[in-house]
């Protein structure tokens, strides 16, 4: 982790919090619906569904 010496403690505190909150969100499990959605998009394209290509 690089520490920018020009940053104040407050800024550092804010950035630490931002990263923490973001990391927590990224670490959440991605709902299955997205895998299903991508499968469906690929399938409808393979089946020649014009909707999926345009």
């Amino acid at each position: 982790m690089t520490r920018d010496p020009k940053k104040s403690d407050v800024e550092r505190d804010i950035d630490d919090n931002l990263r923490k909150v973001y990391r927590e969100m990224v670490e959440q499990e991605v709902p299955d619906r997205f895998r299903d959605l991508l499968d469906k998009l690929r399938q409808s394209e393979q089946n020649g569904d014009p909707e999926a290509k345009e």
Binding site: D9, E11, I14, N17, L18, V21, V26, R35
Partner: protein, 175 residues
């Protein structure tokens, strides 16, 4: 050795960006169910317009751009519906003044959620996701200087809300 049909579909990469797309979406919508709907719409759009993606550019920035464009176009549509229904001017969520003038020690996430959309996204992109100012500017389709000023204003506002005096370490006063 010849690679047997080793041409990967770049769209297979989308799945690897879903956690970050969701994180970015949650920071825009401020709640997970709306964020999931947003990501769902963005994934469909990305899939269908993938021919517009240039493989030498940054896929994450491209996907994030779709997430945010979808977010803002939904927001505009909803506002039009509200205005239409109520005949009152819609609240401007991109207003720079933040939510309330309360200066009190707030929980970080709560404070963050009161910032204007544009400041939240700039802070998340640069402060949390690790994008450079240039990548964030590309994602938000604005100038680098605009991203920098949104970040500065966002940090300043957060510092106030969290009970710090921006640029100063004195305690909070109620001036």
């Amino acid at each position: 050795m010849s690679a047997p049909r080793a041409q990967p579909d770049p769209r297979d990469e989308i799945i690897n960006f879903l956690p970050e797309m969701r994180a970015f979406a949650i920071s825009l919508t401020r709640d997970a169910p709306s964020a999931d709907d947003l990501v769902q719409d963005a994934v469909v759009k990305a899939w269908k317009s993938f021919h517009q993606f240039q493989s030498d550019t940054n896929l994450r920035a491209w996907l994030f751009t779709i997430v945010r464009n979808t977010f803002y176009s939904d927001l505009r549509r909803r506002r039009r519906e509200v205005e239409h229904a109520e005949q009152t001017p819609a609240e401007d969520a991109t207003d720079d003044r933040g939510a309330d003038p309360i200066i009190a020690v707030m929980d970080f996430e709560k404070a963050f959620s009161t910032l204007p959309d544009e400041q939240r996204e700039a802070l998340v992109l640069v402060g949390a996701s690790g994008m450079s100012y240039e990548e964030a500017a590309e994602t938000c389709e604005v100038a680098v200087g605009t991203i920098k000023s949104r970040i500065n204003r966002g940090r300043k506002r957060l510092a106030e809300l969290l009970g710090h005096d921006a640029g100063d370490t004195r305690g909070t006063t109620d001036d």
